[in-house]
């Protein structure tokens, strides 16, 4: 993202409803869904990569198995993992309160 680009809020104002009585379960649901999303993003990208490679006659799958990751690439991957963790645990600092008798949150 261009650092000069305007930033928009990504969270709605207010507390999130907690549907589960046990503390933390609602946040766990978010974590699982974020994980599932990122897993899908990856699967879709791999699918496209293999399709593109195949279109160009590149034996991609075989080369991937023997590829050696460089130190610079390792650092880059570490940064990507940290970003992913931020998404995964994004609800930990949000307020939650149980849904009351009227269902209001």
């Amino acid at each position: 993202m261009d650092s000069a680009a305007p930033r928009l809020p990504v969270d709605a104002e207010g507390r999130r409803p907690a549907f589960f009585a046990e503390d933390g379960v609602d946040q766990l649901v978010t974590m699982v869904l974020e994980l599932a999303t990122e897993l899908w993003v990856l699967r879709e990208r791999v699918f496209v990569i293999e399709a593109v490679a195949d279109r160009h006659g590149l034996p991609l799958k075989a080369e991937v198995e023997t590829y050696a990751i460089s130190e610079a690439e390792r650092a880059k991957l570490e940064g990507m993992r940290v970003t992913m963790m931020g998404q995964l645990f994004r609800t930990l600092n949000r307020d939650h309160r149980p849904v009351d008798a009227d269902g209001k949150a």
Partner: protein, 394 residues
């Protein structure tokens, strides 16, 4: 799967964002079809029999259903997953909108000079609290940002994901279904001026311009942000619409100046006081013989307690606080209070115009309304509910 928006203001999302959008769209489709069916089965098989035993009678209200379902694990997961999916809709489109924002104003300015539509903003308008003070639909930042077209862009891109294809290629199936209902049901009615109130990004106002190309179509909203975007969007689609920043409860139009007043998914975002004020205004600005037509969620009185509970989920968990209060009303009484004659009230249900063949659509237009658990609900067998009234001819 979401449809890709076909106008020039659509954000160019990166591949991973597109994959996130596909995922959350599919997730919503799964929630609204598969999980919804599973939750209803859970209610009928387990929750309802237990509830009937404890009450000693049949279930009578959605509150009884809601109270019982809140303890049920299926409902907890359904709600938690659905709430998360709502957040994820916006999160999947915001990066692309952020990247597009620096050019968006320039794009809208350029489009503004090509086409027959217009934009009139009123910086002195008081933005009502239900828009200014609330992130409706959990949309981060809400709809009231007046500095840029960002809120319009987030809403349009988000709605394409949220609707999971149910609202048609340009998100205009409601506008197409309602305008074509009018065209097919009342073939001798030829509106010259049409007004869409609470039009947001103008997706349905543009549909009216498409269905009635000889009419002059106007759209109003209180948010300058969504109107800026609506203007550029309609210009890009080549559909001339005149957008005005205006409050539907205090219209700055002459008496008897429109042939059609239209709303879509609008009334349920207003307090009852504002709904009543709007119907008085709608009656005032309609010409004698003019038509008020509202697309809405079906009234609770038409539905079984479980289906009432199911549709009112958004009231409790999607920051739409007036949703249920509206659905608890009799729409006929509301428009009569606005000045329409009870004998001029009508209501109807129609299938989606974009996905229904001509003959089936016309047959539905001329059939009595049918209400079931699918009415007004985004699902595979969706049909839309509408109601309205004619202003008495002099």
């Amino acid at each position: 799967m979401p449809f890709e928006l076909s106008h020039e203001l659509k954000a160019a999302h990166e591949r991973d964002s597109l994959a996130r959008q596909d995922f959350v769209s599919s997730l919503r489709g799964y929630i609204l079809n598969d999980m919804a069916a599973g939750m209803k089965a859970r209610f009928e098989d387990e929750v309802e029999p237990a509830l009937v035993r404890s009450l000693g009678r049949a279930v009578q209200s959605q509150d009884e259903v809601h109270a019982a379902m809140r303890k049920d694990t299926y409902f907890k997961f359904y709600s938690s997953v659905r709430y998360n999916a709502q957040e994820m809709v916006w999160r999947a489109v915001i990066p692309g909108v952020e990247a597009a924002l620096p050019d968006l104003s320039r794009q809208i300015d350029r489009l503004s000079s090509h086409g027959g539509g217009s934009l009139s903003l009123n910086p002195d308008l008081d933005i009502p609290e239900n828009v200014a003070g609330l992130d409706v639909h959990l949309m981060p930042g809400g709809y009231a940002n007046t500095e840029t077209a960002a809120a319009g862009a987030v809403y349009d891109n988000g709605l394409a994901v949220f609707s999971a294809g149910f609202m048609g290629p340009n998100l205009d199936d409601i506008g197409l279904s309602m305008s074509n209902y009018v065209k097919r049901r009342f073939p001798d009615f030829h509106p010259a001026r049409i007004l869409d109130c609470g039009c947001t990004v103008g997706h349905n106002a543009a549909a009216w311009a498409q269905t009635f190309p000889d009419a002059e179509v106007h759209g109003i909203d209180v948010s300058a942000s969504v109107l800026r975007y609506a203007h550029g969007r309609a210009q890009s689609l080549g559909l001339p619409v005149h957008y005005h920043q205006m409050d539907a409860t205090d219209l700055a139009f002459e008496d008897a100046s429109f042939d059609v007043i239209f709303t879509s998914m609008f009334l349920h975002e207003l307090s009852l006081k504002d709904i009543k004020a709007f119907f008085v205004e709608a009656h005032r600005v309609l010409r004698p013989g003019g038509l008020l037509i509202n697309m809405e969620l079906p009234p609770n009185q038409e539905l079984e307690p479980y289906d009432q509970f199911y549709l009112d989920w958004d009231c409790y968990y999607n920051k739409e606080p007036f949703y249920r209060a509206f659905r608890d009303q009799n729409p006929e009484d509301l428009i009569v209070a606005g000045g329409f004659a009870r004998s001029d009230y009508f209501r109807f249900t129609v299938p989606q115009f974009s996905f229904t063949d001509e003959d089936a659509f016309i047959a539905a237009v001329n059939a009595p309304p049918s209400f079931d658990g699918e009415t007004g609900r985004l699902s595979a067998s969706l049909n839309w509910f509408g109601f309205g009234g004619w202003k008495a001819k002099i």
